[in-house]
């Protein structure tokens, strides 16, 4: 009896959690399947009455003929959107690789080893997280003008790394602390520190490392403020900066919703992949 009651509560909480998760996304993304007048309807429509995919053709520059024969024109922003997709992918992949390589040993050291100046050194690494982008934008811009880095992917990658490295380090420290105390055993066996780290810790912490990579990817893929100032309108424009045209220059909800939908696809695939991984995330606890 008790078990049965539990299942009902569990089902209810899962339903609430699903609604909480999906409704905010659904509410705006449905605009991608509506026409201008359907979006403006009052009271707002809960379901698109005649779902169609014109907006997805439009943002890539193609006209689309609705079932009613009405032609919806392609968007003038199409070139920026396509460039943005490509550049965002390049920046995110490069940032992910560099961040992961740097952050995994770094957070391991601060989570597991005792040494002098530990707190001071860690604070120094984490300090750059606390810099608000709005206050370093103008200085960064003037620095980049002098270095000729405005409108380049390299410039954007450098800035993004100053955000991802400290914050991912910070998140991973907690993860490494929870690993079982394997180093002592390794030391008894006479392994060196580097060997212990590469051959024992890394394989054990594999899932944490994947998570680190995903977080770095998302921070980079989603970065907007610096991109808006440093690369908008250039060949190095990224997707969030390209999308903002639909929000501010020519407000156009269905195009905004369509490009937002597309910008969500890569992270969604990653989230799905990650979820499959949690299932296997059974840390090999030698004590267990």
């Amino acid at each position: 009896m008790r078990e049965k009651r539990w299942t009902i509560w569990m089902t209810l909480s899962v339903i609430v959690a699903l609604l909480w998760t999906l409704v905010p996304m659904y509410w705006t993304l449905k605009y991608a399947f509506e026409t201008h007048s359907e979006i403006a309807a009052f009271p707002p429509l809960i379901f698109p009455p005649n779902p169609q995919v014109a907006a997805f053709f439009n943002i890539f520059g193609h006209d689309y003929t609705l079932a009613s024969g009405q032609v919806v024109k392609g968007s003038g922003q199409a070139q920026q959107i396509m460039l943005g997709l490509r550049n965002s992918l390049i920046v995110a992949i490069v940032v992910t690789i560099i961040t992961t390589l740097v952050v995994v040993p770094l957070s391991y050291v601060y989570a597991r080893l005792e040494f002098r100046f530990k707190t001071a050194l860690l604070m120094a690494v984490l300090l750059s997280v606390s810099l608000p982008p709005v206050s370093t934008l103008i200085p960064f811009y003037s620095l980049y003008v002098q270095l000729d880095l405005v409108g380049t992917l390299t410039g954007l990658i450098i800035i993004t790394l100053t955000i991802t490295i400290p914050i991912v380090t910070w998140m991973l420290i907690g993860f490494f602390r929870n690993l079982p105390p394997i180093e002592n055993l390794a030391r008894i066996d006479g392994f060196s520190k580097a060997y212990t780290f590469i051959r024992i810790i890394v394989p054990m912490a594999w899932s944490g490392i994947l998570v680190a990579a995903v977080i770095a990817f998302l921070f980079s893929w989603n970065e907007y403020v610096y991109a808006q100032v440093l690369v908008t309108g250039s060949r190095a424009v990224t997707l969030p900066a390209a999308m903002s045209g639909f929000l501010f220059q020519v407000p156009n909800p269905e195009h905004l919703a369509a490009s937002l939908t597309i910008s969500l696809l890569p992270p969604f695939f990653i989230a799905f992949f990650l979820q499959r991984h949690i299932v296997e995330m059974n840390l090999s606890d030698p004590v267990r």
Binding site: S13, V14, A17, L18, W20, T21, P24, M25, T28, I39, F42, P43, P44, L45, I46, P105, V109, E114, F115, A124, V125, S130, L131, P132, P133, V134, S135, T136, I138, P139, L161, T162, I165, P166, W170, G174, N178, L179, S192, K193, A194, L218, N222, E223, S244, P253, L260, L264, F268, I270, A271, F272, L274, Q275, V279, N282, L283, D285, V287, R288
Partner: protein, 290 residues
């Protein structure tokens, strides 16, 4: 190789990179904060000493937005912790053929702050929002505006939590998985009830994760800009004009760069003070216990 040497080996290159990239902008901002920059009649700067810093403190809007920032941050942290813990417990118990639902529950984390702002703007506005759509089902012609001056900060914090909670939930889940299952077996032998199991077995290993994420969410919320920019533009009126937004207005709209730079240092001090405070009053204890 000693521990310190190993630590320096991995830390020093990263530190050098960060210092080189961040030092110039920080120094430049510091220089600007002691000057008055004007664009009329050509670009010119004039040394004004601490005038900008004094002017910020005498500005009523600064204190107003500082208070809004704190309110937004505290609420974001509380909402994220509660929702994150709830999600983590649900994720943990989703087993067998329901496991794929986990992928859906962690989706909001993949949405950018920028995108979250757009989503919650359309969701909350009186004209297009879900509140209006919902009551119209019952035949009402009213509009329900969630982005109203008196509740806008709470609404923003809720959206922020929507975005951040799955990340926390994910890390909580990872920590839960490291709890040896024999502890649960022991609890079953002791016949303690579900709430006690949660309190004494599930929760303790999560405390360090809670500490780390309280810090991370505090910092992210205090420096949050894009989310608020796309959702409310500091409005309605200036009801959600938090420090970062005020900073943006002063530096990029009013072009008072000196004043903006001085204000950004107050924001930086606020962020550092809060994180250091959290570390000394909470983190050190957790680090010792672990």
């Amino acid at each position: 190789m000693s521990n310190l040497q190993f630590a320096l080996l991995v830390t020093v290159p990263v530190l050098c990179f960060l210092v080189i990239v961040v030092a110039y902008p920080l120094g430049y901002a510091l220089w600007v904060s002691f000057h008055e920059v004007s664009f009329f009649g050509g670009y010119s700067t004039e040394w004004v000493g601490l005038d900008n810093y004094v002017a910020v403190l005498e500005d009523g809007d600064f204190w107003r937005s500082a208070l809004l920032s704190v309110r937004f941050t505290v609420e974001s942290v509380i909402f994220t912790m509660l929702i994150g813990l709830g999600l983590a417990l649900i994720l943990r118990d989703l087993r067998g053929r329901w496991v794929w639902l986990r992928a859906i529950l962690i989706l909001p984390w993949a949405v950018s702050p920028y995108g979250t702002g757009i989503l919650f703007a359309f969701l909350g506005r009186g004209q297009s929002g879900i509140g209006t759509a919902f009551i119209s089902l019952f035949g009402s012609e009213e509009t329900i505006n969630l982005i109203a001056a008196n509740i806008v900060v709470e609404y923003l914090a809720l959206g922020n939590a929507w975005n951040l909670a799955p990340l926390l939930a994910f890390f909580l889940l990872a920590s839960m998985m490291t709890t040896p299952s024999r502890l649960y077996d022991l609890a079953a032998i002791d016949q303690i009830n579900r709430f006690e199991v949660f309190l004494h077995v599930t929760l303790p290993p999560l405390r360090f994760t809670f500490f780390v994420f309280t810090c991370i969410i505090t910092v992210l919320s205090l420096k949050q800009f894009d989310y608020i920019f796309t959702e409310t533009q500091g409005g309605p009126g200036n009801a959600s004009s938090v420090l970062t937004y005020q900073l943006y207005k002063i530096s990029f709209v009013n072009l008072e760069l000196g004043l903006g730079a001085a204000m950004s240092f107050y924001l930086l001090f606020l962020i550092l003070a809060v994180t250091l405070g959290l570390y000394f009053f909470w983190g050190r204890r957790e680090a010792r216990n672990a």
